[in-house]
Each structure stands twice: as structure tokens, then as C-alpha cells.
Amino acid sequence: MIIGFRLNGQEVTARVDHPASLLDVLRDQLGAYGSKNACEQGECGSCSVLLDGELVCSCLVLAADAEGSEVTTVEGVAPEGELHPVQEAMNRVGAVQCGFCTPGFVVAAVDLFERNPHPTSREIKEALAGNICRCTGYGAIIRAFEELAGREVR
């Protein structure tokens, strides 16, 4: 079947021959490689996208269910050539190492700060508990978002 949705503001279509996930379609058919595949089962958050404004693991979304939706990936959180404040905050404090989890953290944090511009440390951690990072130990990620939340940074 052919499905159509808006990807980062642009209309796209994709052919779905088998029960492909939204992540499969993004990466393999649309060449949007920003969303990462690390566990295929919704445990690590590396494939996080916003589906009609809702934070989801795109590996758990059936591509067909994206029909007619607005999908925002890491490539679409900031205008071309600019960084979202979430990205700036992570860049400033060394919250990126290998970077494989980074797109998922960016999307999840964009979602958090849209809902809650001044989250507490606990709210930051709860919001990002679905994203696994194997490099940083999360320290710099927490510092980035505490700083962005306008709170005292450890």
C-alpha cells in the first residue's frame, strides 16, 4: 500500500509492502537517517519522533498508522542551519559522545520543554527515562537540561 504523511512539514509518500515500522520507512525509504535503530523494541528511545505532537518510539509504530499524520524527527526540530535550544544546551556541556542516542534525546527533550519549560531535575529524569545512553552516564545530559530549565546546575 502507499501511505502519505507530512515529514518535518513536507508531504511524503512511501510504499509499504509488509508490516514495516515507521522507523523502517523513515530510514530505508525516505532516507531520513537521523532517527536511529538500536533495539527494535521500544526500550532505548533512539528512534523517538513526534507523531502528531506525541512522543513515540517510531520502531513501535506501524508505518500504516502514520497515514495522514505529521511526523517530526530530529531533522525537523529546528529550522535549517539553526539549533533548537535543546540541541544548543547539549552541545554546550558535552552531552554528546558517540551520538547514537542523541537524536532520541533531542526529540524527547523537545517534547519535554514544550510541555514544561522549567522542569525540575526529577521531571527531566522521568521524561528521559525511556532513552538509553551508553556513553555519558547521563551526567552531562542532565546538566544540559537543568541549565536550559533555568535551574542551578550541579
Binding site: 536511529k36 526500550e43 533512539s46 558535552g94 551508553r134 552516564g137 551526567g139
Partner: protein
């Protein structure tokens, strides 16, 4: 004539926490990882794997797989043109199993097809008839049957020495997985002349290239391995996995072939941390000074050699820890079994023994009625001392006492149990707050830096000048640790210019940088960069009889005698191969100068434990670490925090569970990784001492955070519960149930 306004200090040099150049592309999702590579006309590869840990292959029928539309090749052992063997230290592992499979998940056939889905279906369609054989899955039984990769014997000092206080213990470490977020992935592109370009996840492209060449019977110039974007490594990218398969498929089909392991396949597709069993006996005098240490160390290497020999050696060499002792006996065995092959993981043998010797030190402190840190201080190794096991005189800075004193002086910053909702078991109603018990524990560690035992360990780097500034060319792999930052910082400071960047080049364009492992690249590739930049600056200054070089060009006094563009046009460059001080293989008693340098670290953990449910919350892990010279403090902090969390993972949750050779939890649902809610707060003190041979006196920093964080956490759990806890990871039943039930 240009007149200079006075020399400014270089921006972005060593000691600054410069922002990494690959940060923005990674944050935008634009950075290309091996998983993201795509070329027109490429095929997808997939692997048929053994469902048995040990079996004889009776027959393989590739017909049903070839019959699937879109399948271009199905290859088995018989299709390999060369010897078909590989291995990081000994080529003992078949590229594809021939007569026998020796571990669960061993590759038996590979396929190439038009798309990934078809390739995977074809891999499943290959019909392999097996005759199951009894798997050898117990390392002690393997030892008894002399199925071993290496035996180690260390004897030092008076073997009759005896102390008045004796503690004995038996300890186990489970099989940890590196679990880098990026799985194995790669692309091989045939060059049309019988050669191939390989772009695959790696920590060491030159040995990948070498193993492809040797396994497939190619000439070295026919294979070029290219550094690519990689989503973490932690040791898992040191061994070959899909590399030879990709090259074989690409050469066979004449088409580019891409392969990406899924997570489950990744767990079988790379080596793991060696599980270990360790028997220890410490004897001390009444003042707590170690008189004798005896240890037997048994690590399970699994089915193939990988780096078992070196991991075992490391475990034995560091079996006593950062302590003085003049009477030592260590026996080590690296067992060969039908369990998954084990190899490199951050800490490389030093992790396993650290859990044992630090548990022993606490036990000894308890027997002596002495403060655990005081016991460690009395035995602390220092520069000029001999390593207890090998007798090597330590001739670089070794601030063990400084680590202890720093830890002891750090304030214990923790709130009351349960404040802020941080209870074991989370913020819900799982744990009864008034039952929570708090514990504090300490541990120290020592680790070698760089490769040991006489290995010719070197790194080559090239520094050249371009319109964009200085370029550092290297084949050293950036795995996320920040090498792209630190090499550029070294080049800036050494050359005296503010613009420098790192460019990765393939194996045909530069000699080896060695492995991104053993905490070695800052010292080795950093050393090569430092020396290349120093010589280049010196040659330029001599050529122009000048006295300074900066972004504008070469200066003689206040006069610009050659502009930067002129230097670029003249093609100035310098290539340097840097070696660390030579090491040697051990003698028959395990004695000698086997190591080039050492680093020590110490950790203090604070935990809250729910003793009824056996749940642990690690609140803090504070640390003091010997770094030589902090070239990029923020990057070091990142290594420390990340390494500590992997150590916490080994302490309380991470283990691959085996059932007769089969991994039972090869998913991220069942292999538990620490989340942001599991991450302790970390305060770190960086101890800088001059004297190491690394650039500007820098030491490697990647592994020490992972080594003693694990025993520190377990010591804290013991402090909270009074349990013996001789095994990591500590499971809820180890805490909540009586010991015979927990077993």
C-alpha cells in the same frame, strides 16, 4: 610589511573543554554512522547462525535460499577463497563454520539479496543439518580437561612468607555486554579489480584490513578499510564480525553489500566481558601490611581465542591491585568452552580481579578492625615501588595515596533516604522508606595503559597545513570518547595555531594508529600528533630562520616572512610514528617489565537498599582519578561519568544469562542497562602529576572509571546489609533471601 600586534595565546588548545566538532552534526541527525551508509545498487547481507552451542554440520543446502527471488548469493565455508580463519591474536575462528559449530549463534552461511527483508528470509531458508554434540559450558571442567587458551603462573618473592591475619574468599563476575547503542554495521564496495573497500564499525581498521586479507587470501593492497561513524564500542568493536563476510559477498557478487546486525544478533555477533571465578587468600601482619597474596583466576574465554590470552594476563598482573606485597602467587586459566566467545570490554581483565581484591581488602580490614581506607593507605603502591605481581618498577607517576586522600576528603553529599522520591525501586510505593538502609563503600583500582607484553604498540599521525588550518590525519577510531577533540587541541597548542581539525583516512593512506582501546589513543595517537606538530613547527621555523608560527603565518620578530597561504602552497607536512616505552614478555614466573604505564582510580559509592525486596539505589559514586594531565576536562568528566555507570551496571544489573551455552536475554528488554533514573550523582577529582610519557604528561582515562566503581558499589551494599555478596551483578535475591535460597 605586516606588523604584528603581539602574540595571542592559542584558542582551543590543551586544557580547554573545547566543544567537539562532531557535536552539531550528531545533534542534528546528520552525522553518518555505518548504519546510515547507502550507495546505489547495493545489496543487503544477512547471516545464517547456528542454533546449537556445539554440533557437527552434516550438510548445508543453500538451494531453498537461492530459490528466493532477489537473492544473489548464498555462501558457505566451501566458497571462501583463502584460509577462511581470523582472530585478533590467533587466527583460530572460521569465517564460516566448516565441520563443526562451537558456539550458539556461530555464522554458518551468508547471503546477499536485493533488500534487507529478502536477505534475512534467505538466511533463514538455508537448510543446515546438524548432529548435536555435548557442549562444554563449565570453565572449571574445561580447566580440568586442559581445554585452555592460556595458563599463567606468577611467583614472586618468598613463597613461604606467612602473615598473622588471613582472609580467604571466592568471587564471581558475570558476563557483561558492552551493548553499544550502534550495532555492528558495514558496507563493502568492490573496486572492480579484485579488491574491496570496507566501511564498517571498528576500533582498529588496520587489523580488520589484515584479517580480511589473510582470511580471504588477498594481497594487502587489495583491501582498504575506512574509518566510519560508530555508535559506541567499549571493546565490542575490536574483533572482526561482519567485516570478512561483507568483503566476501561484495567480491563474489561484484556489487556493494551492506549489512546491519539487529540487536539480538548483535548480542551473539560480538565478544563479551569474560565471566570469572576467583579464589583469593590474603595474609597480613597485625599492622595490616600485606605479607602474602595468593589467587587463582579462571576466566571463560568461550569458543574462540579472541583476546582471552591478554585479558587473562591482565587479570593476573593486576590481581593484587594498587598495593605493595612481596610474596605473591597467582595462577590463571583462560578456559576454552562452547560458551559465547569473550574478548575486550572496557577494563580488560582488570575489572574482574578488582572486584575480588577489593572485596578481600575490605574483608581484611574487618578482620583487623581497621578503617578500610587506612588499610589501603598502609599498602598503597607508589612510584619507585615494584608491582606486587610482576616485580616491575613503576617509573611513572602513581598517585595511589593522593587518590585515597582525595576520596577521604570529599564531603558526603547525600540527603536523607527517600528525599526527592529517590528510593530503591523508584518513586512509587514499592519501598517502605523507614526500612531503607544506607551504605557507603570504597574501592581502588590500577590498570595498564596501552598494549603490553612486548607488543610493538605504535600510532602514526600526519599533520599538514591546509587553507582551513592544520589537519591531523589518522586512522585512529573515534568511538565517541572525543579523540576528534583532543588531537586537534594537541595540534593547536603544539603548532601555535588556533585552527586545527582531525580527518580520518583509510588504511592505504596512513599506517596504523593501533586500537582505540586500552585507554591508549590520547597517549599514542596524541603522542604522534604532538611529535608531528612539534617537528613541523620546528622545520618551518628553521626553514624561514623565524621565531614564531601562528594563524597568519611565520614570523621573524614583528615581520611576517611567510603567510599561511604560502605555507599551504609549499605543502608542509610531517608524519610521525610514535611508540611508547618498550615492554617485554613475562619470564616463566610472570616477572618482567610488561607494561608501559599505569593509571589508578578510586571510587566511593553511597547506596540505599531495600533489604526486603533486595532493591538497590546507587545515590552517588564519587571518584578521584589519576589523569596525568587533563587535556580536556569536560571530555574526561564524560569518560568518568559514563565509565562509572557501566561499573554500576555490572554491580547491580548487567549480565548475559546463559543456559547451556545459549544466551537467554539477548534483547534490551531483558539485558538491563542503567537508565537516567539509575544514574548516580558523580563528583570527580582529577589528579594531575607530571612524568608520564603521554603528550604533555597525559594518561589514558577511559577504563579506570569502570574498574573500581563496581566493587565500591558492592562494598556499599555490604555496608548496608551485612551480606557477603561475592558475586556481581548483585541480584535482588542475593540481598533479600537467605544465601542457600538465593543460590
Amino acid at each position: 610589511m605586516t606588523t604584528r600586534t603581539g602574540r595571542r595565546s592559542v584558542q582551543g588548545g590543551i586544557g580547554e573543554s573545547t566543544i567537539r566538532p562532531d557535536g552539531v552534526p550528531k545533534l542534528r541527525g546528520e552525522f553518518m554512522y555505518a548504519q546510515d551508509m547507502h550507495v546505489e545498487g547495493m545489496l543487503w547481507g544477512a547471516t545464517t547462525r547456528s542454533p546449537h552451542p556445539h554440533a557437527r554440520i552434516v550438510s548445508i543446502d543453500v538451494g531453498p535460499a537461492l530459490a528466493i527471488g532477489g537473492v544473489h548469493a548464498v555462501l558457505t565455508h566451501d566458497d571462501i577463497p583463502g584460509p577462511g580463519l581470523f582472530g585478533l591474536e590467533h587466527p583460530d575462528q572460521p569465517v564460516l563454520a566448516g565441520d563443526v559449530v562451537r558456539y550458539w549463534g556461530e555464522p554458518v552461511a551468508i547471503v546477499a539479496a536485493e533488500d534487507e527483508d529478502t536477505a534475512r528470509r534467505a538466511a533463514e531458508a538455508v537448510v543446515v543439518e546438524y548432529e548435536e554434540l555435548e557442549p562444554l559450558v563449565d570453565a572449571e571442567e574445561a580447566d580440568a580437561r586442559d581445554e585452555v587458551f592460556r595458563r599463567m603462573k606468577i611467583r614472586r618473592g618468598d613463597q613461604e612468607a606467612r602473615g598473622s591475619v588471613v582472609v580467604e574468599g571466592y568471587y564471581e563476575v558475570g558476563m557483561q555486554d558492552q551493548a553499544p547503542l550502534g550495532t555492528e554495521a558495514g558496507l563493502a564496495v568492490p573496486d572492480g579489480n579484485g579488491g574491496v573497500d570496507l566501511y564498517a564499525t571498528s576500533q582498529f581498521v588496520h587489523v580488520d584490513q589484515q584479517q580480511v586479507v589473510e582470511a580471504l587470501g588477498l594481497r594487502p593492497e587489495q583491501v582498504r578499510a575506512h574509518p566510519v561513524g560508530i555508535g559506541g564500542a567499549f571493546g565490542a568493536r575490536e574483533d572482526v564480525n561482519l567485516h570478512i563476510h561483507l568483503c566476501l559477498l561484495a567480491l563474489y557478487t561484484g556489487r556493494p553489500v551492506k549489512m546491519v546486525y539487529h540487536r539480538g544478533e548483535s548480542f551473539t555477533g560480538h565478544v563479551h566481558r569474560h565471566p570469572a571465578r576467583m579464589w583469593y587468600r590474603h595474609e597480613a601482619d597485625e599492622n595490616g601490611r600485606l605479607v602474602r597474596v595468593e589467587a587463582k583466576i579462571l576466566v571463560d574465554g568461550g569458543a574462540y581465542a579472541s583476546t582471552t590470552a591478554a585479558v587473562l594476563a591482565n587479570a593476573c598482573y593486576f590481581a593484587v591491585g594498587p598495593y605493595k606485597c612481596d610474596s605473591v602467587a597467582v595462577d590463571g586459566v583462560g578456559a576454552r568452552t562452547n560458551n559465547p566467545p569473550c574478548g575486550a570490554m572496557r577494563g580488560f581483565g582488570a575489572v574482574q580481579v578488582c572486584f575480588a581484591y577489593e572485596s578481600q581488602m575490605d574483608r581484611l580490614a574487618s578482620a583487623l578492625g581497621m578503617d578500610p581506607l587506612e588499610l589501603r593507605r598502609r599498602n598503597a603502591l607508589a612510584t619507585g615501588d615494584r608491582l606486587a605481581t610482576t616485580g616491575q618498577v613503576i617509573d611513572t607517576p602513581l598517585p595511589v595515596v593522593e587518590v585515597i586522600d582525595s576520596l577521604a576528603a570529599m564531603p558526603l553529599l547525600v540527603d536523607e533516604p527517600g528525599s526527592g522520591g529517590d528510593l530503591p525501586g523508584g518513586s512509587g510505593l514499592t519501598t517502605e522508606p523507614r526500612h531503607v538502609r544506607r551504605g557507603v563503600g570504597y574501592a581502588l583500582s590500577i590498570k595498564n595503559l596501552g598494549f603490553s607484553e612486548g607488543f610493538d604498540d605504535y600510532a602514526q599521525a600526519r599533520v599538514r597545513l591546509s587553507p582551513e588550518g592544520a589537519i591531523v590525519e589518522t586512522a585512529a577510531i573515534e568511538v565517541g570518547q572525543g579523540l576528534v577533540n583532543v588531537l586537534a587541541q594537541i595540534a593547536r597548542t603544539t603548532l601555535g595555531v588556533s585552527r586545527a581539525e582531525v580527518r580520518h583516512v583509510d588504511t592505504s593512506r596512513i599506517d596504523s594508529a593501533g586500537s582505540t582501546s586500552a585507554s591508549r589513543q590520547t597517549q599514542l595517537s596524541g603522542g604522534a600528533t604532538h611529535e608531528a606538530a612539534r617537528r613541523l613547527r620546528q622545520r618551518i621555523l628553521e626553514h624561514y630562520r623565524a621565531d614564531d608560527l601562528d594563524d597568519e603565518g611565520v614570523w621573524r620578530g614583528d615581520t611576517l616572512v611567510a603567510a599561511w597561504d604560502d605555507l599551504v602552497r609549499d605543502g608542509w607536512e610531517e608524519t610521525v610514528t610514535f611508540r611508547h616505552p618498550p615492554t617485554e614478555p613475562p619470564d616463566e614466573n610472570g616477572q618482567g617489565k610488561m607494561h608501559a604505564d599505569f593509571a589508578v582510580a578510586g571510587h566511593r559509592a553511597v547506596v540505599d537498599v531495600d533489604p526486603e525486596l533486595g532493591l538497590v539505589r546507587v545515590l552517588r559514586v564519587d571518584t578521584a582519578q589519576d589523569v596525568g594531565k587533563a587535556l580536556n576536562p569536560e571530555s574526561i568528566r564524560g569518560q568518568i561519568e559514563g565509565g562509572i555507570l557501566q561499573g554500576v551496571g555490572l554491580a547491580v544489573m548487567e549480565e548475559l544469562v546463559l543456559d547451556r551455552g545459549r544466551i537467554r536475554n539477548a534483547t534490551f528488554t531483558d539485558y538491563l542497562l542503567p537508565t537516567i533514573l539509575d544514574a548516580p550523582d558523580v563528583e570527580a577529582i582529577l589528579i594531575e602529576q607530571e612524568g608520564s610519557w603521554g603528550p604533555f604528561g597525559a594518561k589514558g582515562v577511559g577504563e579506570p572509571p569502570t574498574i573500581s566503581s563496581t566493587p565500591a558499589v558492592v562494598a556499599a551494599i555490604r555496608d548496608a546489609t551485612g551480606k557477603e555478596l561475592n558475586r556481581v551483578p548483585v541480584r535482588p535475591q542475593d540481598i533479600a533471601l537467605e544465601e542457600e535460597v538465593a543460590r
